[in-house]
């Protein structure tokens, strides 16, 4: 299988702190990959380097063979990388449907003139985007909630709406930042099934940051471990689980709690 995203020697510093330290990383197209590590290991910073929120000082990131370092966030999104946020960041005072429609922004064309004249192309585009937005909401199980304000949805619904919004951008690579944070074990397992369904039906590659080890071990095909910004292990879930350096990073000893 082809490599959809590759990173070589990516380094991001904040003043004297090296948050991400020459990390090499690759994702196979169609796979589900997890990025784990203790708090402050640089996982979210690495995410932000991929999505263009931060520009790494050194290193090369290629998406489908195209270098993306130095591109703006919205340009990278248009290329086909979408993300969700660790602390849900929906447009709270917009409806669920409007949130997904904003997600479809990079796949639309209407500009100022179209908005004012409301011409045929614009009307057709709006109709198409509305229909597709409803389909996406149905796909994530938010049917009937189209006109609810995002902030009034339940926590789990907000998580799924964030994924629907990201799917609106028609991504090839979907980055999920702790999708099961704050969920109980049942809800987490439901989310695991849901992520698998997303991969299968929407044809996307998935990279996730996760803290719940049970989730990581069930869902991932490959796992990468970061600690203090350095990649300390990589491989299948079983390989990573047995790696002594990983055990040490997590517990300071050789016992790993699962």
């Amino acid at each position: 299988m082809a490599t959809i995203l590759s990173a070589k020697g990516v380094t991001k510093r904040f003043g004297g702190l090296t948050a991400v330290d020459s990390v090499d990383f690759e994702i196979e197209e169609g796979s589900i990959v997890s990025l784990i590590g203790p708090n402050g290991a640089g996982k979210t910073t690495f995410f932000n380097c991929i999505t263009g929120y931060y520009t790494p000082e050194e290193g090369l990131i290629q998406f489908q063979g195209k270098p993306t370092v130095g591109m703006k966030m919205h340009q990278i999104t248009s290329l086909g990388i979408a993300r969700t946020f660790q602390n849900i960041r929906l447009f709270g005072n917009m409806t669920a449907l409007e949130n997904v429609m904003v997600g479809q922004h990079p796949r639309m064309k209407a500009g100022v003139i179209g908005a004012i004249t409301h011409n045929k192309a614009t009307r057709e585009e709006e109709a198409r985007v509305t229909t597709h937005g409803r389909e996406l909401l149905r796909f994530v199980g938010l049917r009937g909630k189209e006109n609810n304000l995002a902030k009034n949805l339940s926590y789990g619904e907000q998580r799924r709406l964030e994924i629907a919004r990201a799917l609106g951008t028609e991504p090839k690579l979907l980055l999920l930042d702790e999708p099961t944070a704050g969920m109980n074990p049942q809800e987490s397992l439901a989310m695991v099934d849901f992520i698998r369904k997303v991969r299968q039906e929407m044809n996307v590659t998935i990279l996730l940051i996760e803290h719940h080890m049970r989730v990581v071990m069930t869902i991932s095909e490959r796992v990468t471990v970061l600690d203090f910004g350095v990649k300390i292990a990589e491989g299948s879930p079983q390989q990573v689980q047995q790696n002594p350096r990983v055990r040490e990073a997590y517990l300071g000893s050789s016992e790993m709690h699962i």
């Binding site: 999505t51 966030m73 960041r89 447009f91 904003v102 409301h118």
Partner: protein, 511 residues
């Protein structure tokens, strides 16, 4: 019961304050015929010549009744049951009435002992005290104050109850499709009537009110433009008046005989608008990274810079400004009738037409892909960018299109006034425009219109109460923001935001 007592003490203190600063004394000099003459545009000396100077208690009594009604509403607004609403209004107002009564009885006792209170409190004359005590013996008058104030407070509480019930009934009606349609039809008819009135009325209402209507219209234009920047895109821009100034100065330089160009109005108008839009976009670039209050301070500085450049630049006339700005000329085709723009009436039609066009454009912009991304950016800029929205581009578009309409307003303003001075473009204009869109309802287009009528029109209507009009006006703004924080006509989105935070309404709806 503590809130009721507190509310009563506040009302009582306010009333005493009003009495001391002499609102009642002013009201006593007011008569209905005097107000009517003012509305027709008579000057103070003309009115004085026509009317005898007798004191007249009718307006001060109306003021007392209004104060009692509002105090009753405010005291009752937190209570849940009808009985509790009535009783807290009665208690609060009886306390307020008692405070005033005690003060009045005390004052009249001092006067009875030949002590002149007005030596200290200038506005509390013997006649004023007597009038306030309903021309009754002091004790009876004081008792009347308590009874009257409490009774009207109870009425106020009842009105509040009725008004809320009506609001609930309306929102319930709006939620069913059928009555929603009828509501729409009623709205259309009302709008058509209002438009008809605005087209016909300028022929009859005289020069003064034409001028007022025109000023309201110009502020509607300003508000509509600023509403794009603040209401839609959420960028707190306090330097907005700068673009108004650029529009005005561009048209002045291009059309005034003091300069070599001497273009016609219609040729200079698009240049003025484009110049303002370019300035808006250029000034947008350095503030792209700023948000919220920081943005407000920086744009405030820009607005002042633009004014001061005009003020100290001899090319634009310095502090003396530019005179003889050309008015538009307009010939109706086929009939060859030339409209003379020599009074405020034709300017009003120009402003009215422009407002309709700009409101239409703003509405379309808001209900589009661009409007959606503006809202998204207002909610969460990073998340919007992560969803593929080019926030740099849409920010500059918001600044540019807002400035474009400000330039249009400024151009019309300059040619209506026929002369402009740098001090026509102070920060106060930006603040007024901001206040009117907040009072009307942030992001709401009908709100801009209502807000500008309230904010620009009301001070004119309040002219009969002379010195107190700005006080009354400021008090109204404070009360408005406390009672309707979402604005007079909130945008649909804002209405949802606030409605869902109002648990009381939800309880009422579910019952």
């Amino acid at each position: 019961m503590t809130p009721a007592i507190r509310s009563g003490l506040v009302t009582g203190t306010l009333l005493l304050f009003f009495i001391l600063i002499g609102i009642y004394t002013t009201f006593e000099a007011l008569t209905l015929s005097g107000v009517w003459l003012t509305i027709q545009g008579a000057t103070a000396s003309e009115i004085a010549a026509q009317l005898p100077t007798a004191t007249n208690p009718q307006f001060s009594r109306v003021f007392t009744v209004f104060a009692a009604l509002i105090a009753g509403m405010l005291a009752a607004r937190r209570a849940q049951t009808f009985a509790a609403q009535i009783s807290s209004a009665v208690i609060a107002n009886a306390i307020a009435g008692a405070m005033v009564a005690i003060a009045l009885i005390f004052a009249s006792a001092l006067y009875a002992n030949k002590l002149d209170v007005s030596f200290v409190f200038e506005k509390v004359k013997a006649e004023t005290v007597a009038a306030l005590l309903f021309e009754q013996p002091a004790l009876l008058g004081g008792a009347l104050w308590i009874v009257v104030f409490a009774a009207f407070g109870a009425l106020g509480a009842a009105l509040l109850r009725g008004w809320r019930a009506l609001a609930v009934a309306q929102s319930l009606a709006a939620s069913t499709q059928r009555s929603g349609l009828t509501a729409n039809r009623v709205q259309t008819i009302l709008l058509a009537l209002a438009a008809l009135f605005l087209v016909i009325a300028p022929q009859f209402i005289g020069v003064y009110w034409n001028q007022v209507l025109g000023s309201i219209g110009l502020f509607v234009l300003l508000g509509l433009g600023l509403n794009i920047v603040i209401g839609f895109a959420g960028l707190l821009d306090l330097g907005y008046v700068g673009f108004y100034a650029i529009g005005a100065y561009t048209i002045a330089v291009l059309t005034s005989p003091a300069y070599p160009f001497q273009w016609g109005f219609w040729l200079a108008l698009p240049v003025a608008m484009v110049a303002a839009a370019i300035a808006g976009t250029l000034l947008g670039i350095p503030v792209l990274r700023l948000r919220g209050d920081y943005l407000a301070i920086v744009t405030l500085g820009f607005g002042e810079i633009i004014r001061i450049i005009y003020k100290f630049n001899p090319l634009t006339g310095g502090p003396q400004g530019i005179l003889n700005v050309a008015p538009p000329t307009f010939t109706i085709p086929f009939v060859n009738y030339t409209v003379a723009f020599n009074s405020s009436t034709p300017f009003w039609y120009l402003i009215f037409f422009t407002c309709i066009v700009v409101a239409f454009i703003a509405l379309r912009l808001n209900n589009s892909r661009l409007g959606r991304s503006w809202t998204a950016m207002r909610e969460d800029e990073d998340a919007a960018e992560a969803m593929g929205v080019d926030t740099t581009r849409i920010k500059l578009l918001a600044f540019g299109s807002g400035a474009f309409f400000a330039g249009l307003g400024g151009a019309i303003y300059a040619s209506r006034q026929q002369h402009i001075f740098p001090d026509d473009f102070t920060l106060l204009v930006s603040i007024n425009a901001l206040a009117l869109i907040i009072i009307g309802g942030l992001g709401s287009i009908p709100g801009v219109i209502i807000g500008s009528i309230v904010l620009i029109g009301l001070p004119e209507v309040l002219r009969p109460i002379a010195d107190y009009r700005l006080l009354a006006y400021a008090a109204l703004l404070v009360v408005m923001m406390l009672v309707r924080p979402a604005g007079l006509i909130p945008a649909a989105r804002q209405r949802r935001e606030f409605r869902e935070r109002d648990p009381e309404l939800e309880v009422l709806e579910s019952s």
